[in-house]
Every structure is written in structure tokens, then in C-alpha cells.
Amino acid sequence: MKLLHYWRAMWGIIWRELWRFVTQRERFISALVRPLVWLFVFAAGFRAALGLAITPPYETYILYEVYITPGLIGMIQLFNGMQSSLSMVYDREMGSMRILMVCPLPRWFLLLSKLLAGTGVSVLQVYVFLAIAWFYDIQAPWQGYLWILPALLLSGLMLGALGLLLSSFIKQLENFAGVMNFVIFPMFFMSTALYPLWKIKESSALLHNLAQYNPFSQAVELIRFALYGQFNSHAFIYTLVAFIVFMAAAIVGYNPSKGMMTRKGGA
């Protein structure tokens, strides 16, 4: 009975999140427009400027659009993770977070369910993006579209956990602009999403180090390899450990006796 309770609650939370996403058409469209603009405009412009050597998982010379696609998938998940944290701050301000927090289930489980729900939404977005990219001639082997699913789940969970952690620190919705400037942009630009590591190294050793240890880079590499049917064990372990660390910190952040909630005077 206890297990059934957990299952029903988790499904209820996931269903609510998916339903909200599907019915909020503007959110759906804006989540797609961002990476598509990067793909159609930015990547097309950069194609001529940037020469790419053959590096794994690619076996031939590739167009810049092909290189940037896993990075844009990561971008979708990064924004979605932050969007979920934004919605948690909103829910907290509006009070609906309280309904979740007073139900008779452990907080870690409720937060994990919220995280899974957010990840489910980001996976949906990624597959729609990949479908559009297919028609733009960015095509991976068909197995890649299956292998990418577990990679997306892990990277989505890791980025969502980061968002969750941030949301436990953010007191008001207005502070979210800071997250954009201090988390999303640095994480995205200091990563392998736009340029390979060796290319970054050519310009700055410091940037190279930052990009290398940036968990977002590892998530992007995990996705990149999975899309070509390959398993990048280093990226997998790095992303998994980052997820565990962010999640544990978020659970502490939402714990009434240890975390930020009491100090902030709100839940």
C-alpha cells in the first residue's frame, strides 16, 4: 500500500507538470524557438568561421550545425531546469508549493518527483527539437535517438537538481534574473556546447579548465556521444556525481530543520 501511495503521488506530480506544459502553448513554443534560432542563425553564420577537426564521436568532418546540436539539446535542458526552479519559486510565492509540502510523504521524494516531472518535460522538448533538426539535415543514426533517452534523463535530472538547489536559495521571483546572468549564461558559454575543448584551449587555458570541470560540459558530451550510439563513461560518472551532489544539497535546502526555509520565513 505504501509503495502504491508513492507511485500515485509521483504520477500525480508528473502528470500535473506535463499537462501544464502542454496547455501552456507559449512556453512550449518559446522553449523551441531559442535553440532553433541558435541553430538556424548563429550556427549558420559561424559555419564558415570555425573549422572543426575530426574528434570522437564524429568519424568525418562535420558541419558546425552538427557539432552544436548536442549543445543546444543541453541548452534546452538547462533552461528547462531553471524554468522548473522558477516555477517552484512562483509556486512558493503563490502558495501551491505548500499543498505539496504538507502531504504525508518525505520531502526528498516530493522533490525527486518534481524533478522527474521537469525532466520529462525537457525530454519532450528535445525530441521535438530533434525532429525539426532532422528536416534541416542534421541526422544521427537511428539508434542514437534511442540511446539519447537515458542520457537525457540523467542530464535533465542533474540540471533540474541544480535548479532545485537554486530555488531553495531564491527568496523572490525577481531574483531569478540573477540566475540568468550568474548561472545560465556562464554555464552555457563556458562549456563544450559551442566549441570543442581543444578549440577553447587555443585561446585560454583558464577557460579550458573552467569548461572542462563545468558539469554542463559533461552533460553535453554525454548527450553528444549517446546521439551517435556511443557511451562516454567519464561524462556519465561526472554527470551522475554532479546530480547526486546537487540533489543532496537541494534536499538539505528544503529541509525545515536544516535548510533555507526557516531563515527565509516561507515555504
Partner: protein, 246 residues
């Protein structure tokens, strides 16, 4: 463990940094009893509710719900609790039915049982015909009714209402006050109703006056009138809070 006590608060204190919000608060609520927690703004009512619902941690003192310590036996304690918060907590983009189903899933109820309970609670409040409307389409009074129905779906033993009638027109307010009193009597439910509106108190109610984080009076309406040597609750409140407006 005393099962005849639905809610017990013992020596409860709470501070925000150096600012004391609650100081040595003590009271007990029996099943079937409607207790009004009366206090001006800033008295500590919402802090007390946040502690009872475990949104804040209880550091000094003890809270028990139906014999379960909220700090050590959090999950069984929360299972006994139904809450209506001061702010509306409905998801405006979902229908009434979807909002209520979400709550039943959080409480682990199966589809059939959930449908049955939703129908029962909405029918009691004359809201069943509106179950497919979005929460956004409902007026304030109807939203409150849905929130009360939602708080009762899992058959709690204790119902907390944090100023649930704020912002409602007089007929909606009176209807909700009457319904909750009726619930306490018929369902043997222990009700704790935070309010700053004196006309929401019935003569048989239990009354707790909270002022600057301290319980100034705790008893039946008659007890409070006797202690303060006054004839009306308004005068009693005035004397207990040294002239502060309700």
C-alpha cells in the same frame, strides 16, 4: 498519547532571528470542537500554522496531531491534517476536478475512491456541477469552497483554516463560516480557524486570543468574557490586546 486530543500545542516558541514570533504557546483542541484563533495582524497566527503544518521546524516546544509528534512522526501526523491556506493554492490553469485529483494522488488514493470522495465533498458544497470549470473561472467564494472540499478529501481529523474568508463578500463569508461549524459537529472534526473577524465566532466556539506571540486567553466564549469582565467579544479582545484593533 491521548487520543481524545486532536491537536496539542505545548510550550511552543519560535523566533525569526532575534524577533520573537511565538512565546510559550499552549493549547489543546478536542474532536468536534471549533476553535477560533483570534489575533490582530502580526500576532503570530500564520507562524503557528506554518509550525503545525511542518513548513517550519519546531525547535522549542511540541506539537502533536492525534497523538503523533509532528517533528518525529511527521508523515502519520500530516496524514491527519487538512489545510486551507490564507492565499489560494489552487492551480488556476487546471479544472476543479484536476485540482482535486492532484490532491488525492498526493494522498495515495486510487481512482475509484478519489472520484467517490470528490463527488461527495463537491456535492456537499453545491460545486459538483462546476467540476470541469477551470479554477480561474470561479469567483473567490467558490474557489474557497473547492479548497475546503480538497482539504477534506482524505478525511482528516484536524482541519486548519488560515483566515479563509479574507477578501470574500458577506454572503460567501457567512456560508463558509456556517459550513465549517456544521462540519465540526457532524464529522467530529477538530477545527482550528485563524481569524481577525469577530463575527465569525459562534457562542459555542472555543476561543484562543493570540497577541504578540502570546496566548492572552484560552477558553469558551463565556470563559473569555468572564475573565475580561466584558459583555462582548469585541470588548474582551480590546481589553486583552490593550486597545489594538481587530
Amino acid at each position: 498519547m491521548n487520543s481524545s486530543i486532536a491537536l496539542s500545542v505545548e510550550d511552543l516558541s519560535f523566533s525569526y532571528g532575534d524577533k520573537k514570533a511565538l512565546s510559550q504557546v499552549n493549547f489543546k483542541i478536542q474532536p468536534g470542537e471549533c476553535t477560533v484563533l483570534l489575533g490582530p495582524n502580526g500576532a503570530g497566527k500564520s507562524t503557528l500554522f506554518s509550525l503545525i503544518t511542518r513548513l517550519y521546524d519546531t525547535r522549542d516546544g511540541r506539537i502533536e496531531l492525534c497523538g503523533f509528534d509532528i517533528k518525529r512522526q511527521t508523515l502519520p501526523a500530516l496524514a491527519k491534517l487538512g489545510v486551507v491556506f490564507q492565499q489560494t493554492t489552487l492551480d488556476m490553469d487546471l479544472s476543479v476536478m484536476q485540482n482535486l485529483r492532484y490532491h488525492t494522488s498526493l494522498h495515495g488514493m486510487g481512482r475509484k475512491q478519489a472520484e467517490q470522495r470528490i463527488q461527495q465533498e463537491l456535492e456537499r458544497l453545491n460545486m459538483y456541477d462546476r467540476r470541469f470549470e477551470r479554477a480561474r473561472q470561479l469567483n473567490g467564494g467558490h474557489r474557497r469552497r473547492v479548497e475546503i472540499a480538497r482539504a477534506l478529501l482524505h478525511k482528516p481529523s484536524v482541519l486548519l483554516l488560515d483566515e479563509p474568508t479574507v477578501g470574500l463578500d458577506v454572503p460567501s463569508r457567512l456560508a463558509i463560516v456556517e459550513y465549517v461549524h456544521q462540519l465540526a459537529a457532524e464529522e467530529n472534526l477538530a477545527v482550528l480557524w485563524a481569524s481577525h473577524l469577530i463575527d465569525e465566532i459562534y457562542p459555542d466556539d472555543h476561543l484562543i486570543v493570540l497577541h504578540k506571540g502570546q496566548v492572552k486567553a484560552n477558553g469558551t466564549v463565556d470563559d473569555v468574557l468572564k475573565i475580561t469582565n466584558t459583555l462582548t467579544i469585541k470588548d474582551a479582545f480590546y481589553s486583552l490586546t490593550q486597545g489594538e484593533q481587530v
